[in-house]
Each structure stands twice: as C-alpha cells, then as structure tokens.
C-alpha cells in the first residue's frame, strides 16, 4: 500500500514529527489523498481553557492525531516550595487550580498537619468541609459554563457564573478573598465563621437547586446538546483506570472511586452522601455526574451546617513550624480529581521536597485517546469535559 510521503504534511516547526502512526495509510491519487492539515489550537484560542496548545492533525475535519503542548504557565511551584517555610507555601497552592483554590489549600494544609501530627479542632474540620464543598460547587459551575459555551450554549455560562458569584461573595466574607483564597492555615482556620455565615449559605443553598434545574432544562434533554455529547469521547472503565484518571472523568466511566469515601479525610466520614456514577463513559455521562455531584455537595453542606460544633477553629501549632524528619503523602478529592501532596521534611523549617499530584495534568493525557477519530468541534467539547485548569497542568 502506498503511503503519503511525510514531507507533504505542512510541518509546523517539526513539532508533529514525534507523533504516532496514522490509523489508515492513504494512497495518493485517491479522493482522500489530500494532505493532512496541521492546525494549532491555542495557546491563544478561545476554548482551550487557558494557554493549552493542541496540535491537531486533521483529515478534512476529522482528527487523525493530536498532541498537547503544555508549559506556557509553568512557574516551578515545586521548586519555589523548597525555599519557603511551610506556612509561606499555602498561597502558592491557591494558584495551582485557581478555580478551586480552597480545595487545594485543604490538600496542602492537610499534608503538613499529617506530617506534624496535629489534631485539627472539629469545628475547623466542619468549616473546612463546608468551604471545600462550596468550592466544589463553584468549580463545577465554572466547568458547566465553559463546557456549555464551547458547545455553543452561551446563556448557561452567564447563569452559572451568577451562582458562582454568590459563592465567591460568601468566600469573600469568610476568607477575605474571592479567587485565590488562602483559606486555611496549618492547624485550622485563621478566622471563625462570621455571624451571618450560616444564614448566607442556607439562603444560597435554597436557590441553588432551582437554578440547577434551570440549567438542566436548557441542556439535559435538548437534542442539540444530546447530539453533541452522547457517544462523544467514550472512555471504558478499564482504560480510564489505566490512564490513572481520577475525579468525575473516572466516575463518568462507572468506576466508583471517590477519595471522600475510599480514603476518608477531614470530617467526611460523618456525612451521608452518595457518589454519582456514569454508565457509558461519554461526555454526556460526565456532564450528568458533575451535575449530580453539585446536588450531593448541597446535601453535605446542609448536614455540616446542621451539625456545626462549637469550639476553637485553630489547633495549638507552634509559630515556627518544624516538622520531624519524615515524608508524607496526603490527597483529597478536589473537584477535578485526586489532588495530592508528597512532602519530604528534613527537620528544618522548609520542606526538602514537595511534589504535587495534579489531577488535571493527569486527566489531560486522556485527550488524545478521546479525540482521535472525532471532529474538530468534538475536540473542543472534549477539552471541556476533561475540565482542565492550566495553572495546575503547568504548575
């Protein structure tokens, strides 16, 4: 069989040379022998969610191959951490997954507390759960909006952002910042809940389910939405596990793995909630899983507010944090999947090594597997469904 000569492919700086073999070799002189087009999606593209660069090899509009080029937002957080004291590293964690800063903080702070062997007060644990679950809702709402706008439903974005704004207002009142929260300190929280906190959160939880129904009216049964998501990017459970995916992307494929249940941390064992699972592992299932997770988060927050214990919010932690020599791995269920921290302490005030397990980075590797054979328009939907944040991918 004849093979299209490689030099016919418009090569963009030799970047596609390392790409993989074609599925079917194309004979010259046929209808389909047109050169494959290499197209750069990003880093300045409206729907790559930041500065992701996707190099697409297109046959017409069908994706033959795909390569992700990352690193445009690399700051070297892991290296910076080796030069800062334990307390100083927390704000950097806000800037990993900057749409779910509170969850990141919980991971890091939990890791240091595990290293120190500090017992966090129960009130602080409850407040942490409330804030983290609110952050999960906010992150999923942002994901919903951007995913919908990628598929063309612009209005959902604005609705989702309106509800997210309410969460950010609650954060601003509680933590003092909206996006990069710096929510938790090692040993607990800096501030206790403000007087109206309970009422504000309950008010918000009262309107939220109706609003979710509204989004679902716009999307769930809509035939255009269905035709754009059902059967797109099917990922079987075994492949999802092999790719070491976590979070809703994994659960959309039907794998019941959620760290809140599988490896409970903080106050999660005390709450009653369910883990929504998908069946087909396609884009639509991942969408449904996330929407169901928002509803479960509402349940958790309501329980936590009902059972919020009294007491201090800060454990007795020395001013200068000097953990004993040792190493620790601590991970939590962030909105995007398992975010983990591996800390090596050499007994000084600064960590010897800090390694981050970034969920979005690891989930992103499934993009190639998902999108080969689909159309360009589906690639956009698939980038959306993986729910990446480049701050975390590039670190």
């Amino acid at each position: 069989m004849n093979v299209a000569p490689n030099n016919q492919i418009p090569n963009s700086q030799g970047l596609v040379k390392g790409m993989h073999e074609q599925e079917v070799e194309i004979a010259p002189g046929t209808l389909f022998d047109a050169e494959e087009m290499v197209i750069n999606m990003g880093p300045q593209h409206p729907s790559t969610h930041g500065v992701l660069r996707v190099i697409l090899k297109l046959d017409g509009e069908t994706v033959r191959d795909l390569d992700c080029d990352i690193g445009y937002l690399h700051r070297g957080v892991e290296k910076i951490a080796e030069h800062d004291t334990y307390a100083m590293i927390t704000p950097y964690w806000d800037r990993l997954d900057y749409v779910a800063a509170v969850s990141n903080d919980l991971c890091y702070v939990g890791g240091v507390e595990k290293l120190l062997g500090v017992e966090v007060p129960r009130r602080a644990e409850y407040l942490r759960v409330i804030l983290t679950e609110l952050q999960r809702i906010a992150s999923h709402l942002l994901w919903l909006g951007t995913h919908a706008i990628d598929i063309g439903a612009v209005t959902v974005l604005l609705y989702a952002f309106r509800e997210r704004e309410e969460i950010l207002k609650i954060f601003e009142d509680f933590i003092g910042a909206r996006l990069t929260a710096h929510a938790f300190r090692i040993g607990g929280l800096w501030w206790d809940a403000y007087p109206e906190f309970d009422k504000r959160v309950r008010d918000f939880l009262k309107i939220l389910p109706g609003r979710i129904d509204e989004y679902e009216t716009l999307l769930n049964a809509n035939r255009i939405w269905l035709s754009r998501t059902v059967g797109i990017g099917i990922l079987p459970a075994d492949e999802a596990i092999n790719l070491s995916l976590t979070g809703p992307v994994l659960r959309g494929s039907g794998v019941n793995y959620d760290l809140r249940k599988a490896q409970p941390y903080s106050a999660y064992p005390e709450f009653d909630f369910e883990i929504p699972l998908g069946e087909n592992g396609d884009t639509y299932d991942r969408y449904l899983v996330r929407m169901a997770e928002i509803r479960q988060s509402i349940r958790i927050i309501e329980q936590a507010l009902d059972g919020l214990p009294e007491g201090p919010v800060m454990a007795k932690v020395p001013k200068v944090i000097k953990p004993p020599v040792g190493e620790v791995y601590f991970s939590i269920e962030a909105p995007k999947g398992e975010i983990g921290v591996y800390l090596v302490s050499d007994g000084t005030t600064k960590p010897y090594r800090m390694r981050i397990r970034p969920p979005a980075f690891i989930n992103l590797q499934s993009l190639r597997r998902l999108s080969i054979g689909h159309l360009v328009a589906d690639v956009v939907a698939l980038i959306g469904t993986i729910d990446i944040v480049l701050g975390e991918v590039d670190r």
Binding site: N2, V154, A377
Partner: protein
Amino acid sequence: MMIDECGTERQSVLRSSIINSQFINHQFNMLGILTTLMFVAPEWVRRWTKEPRGNAFWAEFVLWPLIQILLVLFIVLTIVAYLVYLERKVSAFIQARLGPMRVGPWGLLQPAADGLKLLLKEDIIPLKADKAVFQIAPIISVVSALVVLAVIPWGAAWATIANINIGLLFVLAVSSVGVLGLVLAGWSSNSKYSLLGALRSSAQMVSYEIGMGLSIIGALMFARTLSMSGIIDAQQADGVWYVFFQPIGFLVYMVSALGETNRAPFDLPEAESELVAGYHTEYSGFRWALFFMAEYTGMIVTSAIAVTLFLGGWQFPGLNLITNKTVFAFVSIGVFAAKILVLIYLYMWFRWTWPRYRYDQLMDLGWKWMIPAGLANIVLTGIWYVLALPKSQGGLWGFMALKGDRLVPTKWGIAYFVATGFAVTIPIIWIVLASINRRSRDFNLHAQRQLQIKLRAERLQRHSEPAGESAS
C-alpha cells in the same frame, strides 16, 4: 525608522492604506451627495414630472429609484446598526445582564460609537494574504446582501424599489452569490482557521439553499406568481396568509434561513469556540464590519422573504380601513417592519438559547430532514391543490373558484387547505422522515470514512498492480 527585510512589503501596505483612506474620503463624499439628494430630490422630482413635454422617463427610471435606493440603504444600514444593539440587549436580558449602558441613555448611541471605532481602526491585511481578493471579498458579501433589498416590497404602493416579475428568483439568485464572498475571504486570508470556516460555510450555504428553494414552492403554487408584490396581493385575494396553508413550508424555510444566514444553532462557519472567528478571522476594521453588515442584512432579507411569502407581507386585518393613501403606505411599511422584527427576535432568541450543531449533524439536518421535507411538501401540496380544483377543471369537490383570471379558494377551500396542511401534511411528513431517518443515529461518519478510504486504497492497488507504475 526601522527597516527590516520586509521593508518593501511594509511600503505596499502603507500605500494600500493610503488608497484606502482615499476610498473612505470618497465614501464621505457619497454621504454628502446622499444628504443633498435626500433634501433636494423631491423638488427635482416634481419639476421633472411636471415637465410640459411629458418626458417622465428620467423621473420614473432614474431619479425616483435613485432616491428610493439611497433611502432604503440609509434606513436599512441604520437598522442594521441598531439590530446589533438589539441583539446585544436581547442577549443581555436573556442572560441576566444589562448590555451596553454607557454610551448615551441605555447605551443607545453604542452603534454610532462602534461604527466610528470600526471606521477609524487600522485596516490590517496579512502579509501573505492574496491582497486583491482579500479586499474584494467583503464587498462581494455585502453587495450581494444589499442588492436583494431592491425587490423587497417594503410597503404598499410606492415603497418597493423594483417590482420585477421574477422577484423571488432574483432574491434567491443574488443572495446565493454571498457565499462567494465568504469562500474568497476564507481562501485569501491564507489562514487555516479561515479556510476551514470558508469550507464549512460554502457547504452549509449551498445545501441549505436547496432546502430554502424547495420550501417556497408550495406557497408559490397558491400565489402563481414570482413577483413579490404579486405574492402579497395573492394572499390578500385568497384571504389567508400562506403560513396556514404551508406550515411545513414555513418551518423548513425558517430553519433553512437560519442555516443560510449562518445564525445559531447553525453558526458553524464562525463558531468562535472552534474556529476562532471562521472566515473573517483575519479581518479587522471596516472590512470586518462589512461582513457583519452582510450578516445582519441577510437576516433582514430572509425575514422579509418569509414575511412576504408566508405572513401576508404588509397586510394586516383591519388595515384596509385606512383611506388616506399616504397614511396607508406608511402604516403598511410599519406593519412589514414589525413582522420582520418579530422574526428577527426569534432568530436572536434561538441563538441565545440553544447549543450549536456539529458540522456533520448540520449537514444531516439539511440533507436528511429539510430537503426531503421540502420535496414531500411540494408533492403533497400539489395533490391537495389538484384535488381542490374547480369541478370544471377536474377537481373533486370544487373548493376553488375562478375569480377574474386566477383561482381563489372558497370559504370551504380555505378550511380544506388549512386542515390538510396541518392535520395531514405535517403528520405524514413527520412520520415518513422519522422512519427513513430512524437509523441515522447509528450513522458514524468516522467509521464510514475509514471504510471508504480502505476500499479505495484496495481498489487502487488492484488497478495499479498489473499496469506497474502507470497508476494515475
């Protein structure tokens, strides 16, 4: 001054920008002429028409059309600017926002500010672009959209510029030239995104034009004329808007019109989340604005055709009570505009509610649903029509009567056509299409394509083996 290896190129860009500035000045002169004409022209007309020699040629075929053209252009382009404003406001209100609020009260001067900004912006032409084509493409696009305005019956009596007897054909013919502008724009930009956008748009517009052409034939059977004013008069004579005779025709027309004007959910050529901006990715300044103008003018034109063909044009129950001819003409223009606005609001409403179709699904919808539905509608309408002919012409029940030189349905005839249109045609077409497209959900473009590639490669190999190198 910096001199680099592209110095010559820069110079030519500079030169072209000088030419462009002259072009803009020329436009300003045109504006002056336009205003002069608007104020002075009526006087001229009176003088020319009252000429003792009775030579009304100039007045009838040159001056009066010229005034009408300039008036319509001026009004339509202003409306286009305010349609953008309307779109922004409608989208804002749908999305819990306020929209433009800062320029003028409630942002009412926003279109003027935008227009001024676009005029003053630098006209960037990519270095590797095909300059001539790149410059011509938006003009083709906007001209083909504007020319159609000539035959649209904006109102009763004098409000149509050219009442030609093949009006509808003219509209379809000229508006299909618009796709050329998009293709040229996409090709000449020398950008992959533009090219993909242009490919998509050409395929989309060509296929949806077929559906559009098929959908209007049913209404034309009743009107028995292609003249736009004639169609409106026919609806008046029949005493009913053709949307009631032709519900499927109207539906297919509206969907095809959405596809034809590249509006959501069929806005693939410029799907910003996939192709950045599609065919006009590389355009900026006023050239980009021309594309924008073409899009919104296209919206007006397609809505106007829908109003003319299906919604009774400038007619409205009770409008005949006005006896004063001038007042009647103005009111009729108002009615026509109101009907267009309702349709345009529908366009906007759809756009801000629904997601976007994928390219292959769009083609699916066009070829598997719209075109068969249009065809089936023609056949069924023909059958109902023949059955309703007067008994003398072979009809069964004689639901139509000869009035003057045209067939007009009687009262029972109207009821019969409405009933068949809604109660028989819709279910039949719906069921037929649903059953023939039942398996279309299993249709996998990727698998089909892989199969074809494989088969073709095998065939080619078979052919080339005995002949050696002579395979072509």
